[in-house]
Symmetry: C2
């Protein structure tokens, strides 16, 4: 650790549209020293997730934006290098939110110790962490699936969608995935056990989706927005539920799509079909995390939930990997391996 | 009753856009005779409501359309003229759905006896009937108002909106109405006790609405859609609820509004503010009608809910009155007085 530097990736400038390399800045700083009540964390794994695009924008949202010149935010799995904080000792592995950097100080706020024997450490950033929990809450609390219902999941091979669909299968639903390549669709049906998966890039996507949902749609788990959402709306059944988790198709948009304004069409469907449309942000729900964690651990153990990571190596790869995530170039949960544990 | 004819107003042709006189046909038929298990009803009052515009269209919705050449549907208050149906005798007053005509046969299905001493008979078509119940369910079951919250109600002087706002006041909310004339706004604040009422036809409507909601909007009771909805969305607070009851601004539309497509803006608000948007159709909720009826009867009696009817006379006035309803020309609950009781 002697001579170590702390590499940080900063938000260099706010993007207009899709982020580019110019929006990020890789700098080297001194590794900080833990003061009383602090510990020094070293990043092992860094999670890249679509919500981070929103943090690059200014303006009010559910969370503070990253400041220009600030370190990009991210969930991380870290090793405690040095601790002057009660309850933590060097070598502990923790889940933190220390961002796109090698090292960070922490006072223990919003940090949770991980059990290194509970599974691969990086799973705490995916199927056993925020994305898996997001899938679980949105599907079960808002969607409330019943056996025999049809559930459509967008971004079906991704960190959230893959888990949504597998839980829906466990609940006895017919599950239709939507993904962006034939390989992803094959994975979703053959490995994850969805009943069908439709490629939204196909010219006849809307027809394929309709054919895949002969009994209509009872739950649409919304991760993407855009053309997928427009194809879903006419297929929704009376009493259908739409947990709104994300809208990745719009995150890089610099203007609203061309008209006509389809809002009245959506509202008319909401009215006449008695739809429930509900947005949620996962950090409101952590009281239910223990129940999720124990169920998901069991599902992983008995093989009823499978999980795929798209692991890239090196902190410096994070900007490019993140840009790819926004275009659907990842395949599985995108994680950056920043460093190995010290022992 | 000798020589009486049964005047009926038929759907002559499906409207494209706003209905015109040509879409209706007034015909005279023989008064039918009650067979075994039937009773003959004579219409006293006929309710005109925005939902009827939807029944004039073809195509799937939550209820069957009126057939071309069929009698226009409506809720009615009727007197039993003759009964061969157990439990009913001549002179009984009933709530029925016998439509735009003087007489109708009934087998008692979807008919309810009214207590002539419970208040003016026509109230069963308004504050004590479907519109009042719609206000109650949408606000209380979906909106779930809490004291101190801000509730915005569109079509605030109308049959539903006027009741929504008054119940919200009873629950301790700040209530902001939206209506279409200065006279309606004065009525809403001075007679109904809303805190503020804003005229959506004013050029600076969106600014006025924002000024009227300094703490944002916690519940938006949606009756109209259109420009009012667009002005509401940016003012919604985190956790706001939108019961979707109607969209009268769009009922006569022949095409979607010009772009851009604002759907992503709405969905982004739903997501980041964790909004609940829920449509409902009142006939799903009649199990709760007795609770509503007893509460509303008490509120009317003690003066905490006030009610205004816009009463027009004569079955033949119904088409013109209905066209006016869709343009906001009524002031209060629109009811057609078709005939007086026989005694």
């Amino acid at each position: 650790m002697t001579q170590a530097k702390n590499r940080q990736i900063l938000l260099a400038a706010r993007p207009s549209g899709a982020p580019t390399a110019e929006n990020f800045d890789l700098v080297e700083r001194e590794v900080p020293t833990a003061g009383p009540g602090q510990m020094l964390l070293r990043t092992l794994f860094l999670s890249l997730d679509p919500y981070m695009r929103g943090r690059m924008n200014d303006g009010p949202s559910y969370a503070e934006p990253v400041a220009v010149g600030g370190v990009m935010t991210a969930g991380t799995v870290c090793e405690v290098v040095e601790s002057k904080l009660e309850g933590y000792t060097a070598g502990d592995i923790v889940l933190a939110g220390s961002g796109w950097q090698d090292y960070a100080l922490s006072d223990g706020e919003a940090v949770r110790k991980l059990d290194p024997d509970a599974g691969p450490l990086s799973y705490a950033l995916g199927v056993l962490g925020m994305p898996g929990f997001t899938a679980y809450i949105g599907l079960l609390h808002i969607g409330q699936p019943k056996a025999g219902e049809t559930v459509v999941v967008s971004a079906a091979s991704g960190a959230v969608g893959s888990v949504v669909g597998q839980i829906a299968k466990l609940k006895g639903c017919r599950v239709v995935g939507v993904a962006g390549t034939p390989e992803k669709c094959d994975y979703v049906t053959q490995e994850l056990g969805f009943d069908v998966c439709v490629n939204y890039k196909d010219a006849d996507f809307a027809d394929q989706l309709a054919a895949a949902c002969p009994d209509g749609i009872d739950i649409y788990y919304e991760n993407v927005g855009g053309a997928v959402f427009q194809a879903v709306v006419p297929l929704l059944n009376t009493w259908a539920r739409i947990p709104v988790c994300g809208m990745i198709a719009h995150y890089n948009a610099t203007a609203l799509p061309e008209g006509p304004d389809r809002t009245p069409l959506l509202m008319r469907n909401i009215l006449t079909k008695r739809l429930l449309v509900r947005g949620f942000i996962i950090f409101d729900h952590y009281a239910d995390f223990p129940a999720f964690f124990s169920e998901m651990t069991a599902w992983l153990k008995d093989g009823s939930v499978r999980y795929r990571e798209d692991m890239v190596e090196g902190l410096e790869t994070a900007p490019e990997a993140f840009m790819g995530l926004l275009e659907g170039r990842n395949f599985g949960k995108l994680v950056v391996k920043v460093a190995g544990p010290s022992s």
